[in-house]
Symmetry: C2
Subunit: 206 residues, 2 copies
Amino acid sequence: MEHERMRRLILDAAKELFAKDGFDNVSIRKIAARIKYSPAALYRYFKNKEDLILSLKMEGMQKFGEMQSHLGQIKDPFQRLREGGRIYLDYARKEPEYYDLLFIKAVPSFCSSEKWVGKPHQNFINFRETVHECIETGHVGDVSLETAVATLWATVHGLASLAATGRLQTCLPGIDMDNIFENVLDFITIPQIEREKMRKGKQDES
Amino acid sequence: MEHERMRRLILDAAKELFAKDGFDNVSIRKIAARIKYSPAALYRYFKNKEDLILSLKMEGMQKFGEMQSHLGQIKDPFQRLREGGRIYLDYARKEPEYYDLLFIKAVPSFCSSEKWVGKPHQNFINFRETVHECIETGHVGDVSLETAVATLWATVHGLASLAATGRLQTCLPGIDMDNIFENVLDFITIPQIEREKMRKGKQDES
DNA sequence: GGTAGAATGTGAACAGTGTTTACAGAGTTA
DNA sequence: TAACTCTGTAAACACTGTTCACATTCTACC
């Protein structure tokens, strides 16, 4: 069993236990027992527990990045924005523990850890560019880029956080979780067709 | 020293240590040492550590509720919505550790703990009602109540979360944190005056 | 083949955690 | 004085992450 396979074995065991018992109830000893090794053995493969969790994070981020890889092929920026948000929401609902790990808890290591400034940073640049295009193509109304980025970022992350922790479903029981982001995005951006209706409505009134 | 004063002493020491060292780096032993008591003493006043933290949460929620107490006096629902969001954002920026404790981490006890279904639940009902009024007075465009509530909730919580964890300031360095919610809310709702401008702009084009 | 050296796994220990328990003393009541 | 409650504590238990000296095995080279 070479080094890399052993790392894999540990990570898989850890992942399984984390998913089963939650991130706070899994100790090094439990992971070690799961694969029938002594706790000390794990320290030949990971500097410490934080390092092990960081590896899981990087894998999760990698997988999440792959879910988004097709975004670049979507020409229409608004469609791209829609799809990007939908992916976030789906991920938060399907793997709430991992959404928590990647985007909610232990945030410092998200930005400061030198190991992976690459992926998330590039994603954010892409997101920013998509919003920029949406503004230029008139999909989101007249607004500064900064404000639009902040709004859409906060909305997606807010929805995903509330969904991952079950609050959205609990406090708004009747909500259509499958189309929530579509509806929210429509509400925020008021796409062209709606504006047209609004304009017509206003003219009818007067 | 009667019972209630001793509780106060413990809670104050805990609060101070939590603020100084972060919630994960404060042990019962450290709190006990701070007030020169044995660790076991604290268990005469709190069932366990979770119970102690829950008490701090309830106090934080109480204080947060007081910050919002004047909202009921604001007649204009849109103005009320603005002010409510502003309070959230201010709290998240001023006391990030506590925003984290109250609204981000350990969420289960937020909804499930029978001890305080009252306050937050009532706040949510009030929020819902405010959004309802905003729709009826035409401040937020034509949208279902559920979608509007979800959007505004997610946006405020998203902004506050990103602000409390420092991401908003780090990733959008040029942003005006003091007016961010105002700007975002304007963007989302596109108030009447903006719609008018938009309408005029469209007419000029054609 | 033999031997040095690296790689791998482990038991034992250390310091820390939350929590319980048996006990001691002080205060109050009858 | 006697009984009883209240309050505080030392010691212990079962955990936690982590380290270290010690074996064992595997690899490479003369």
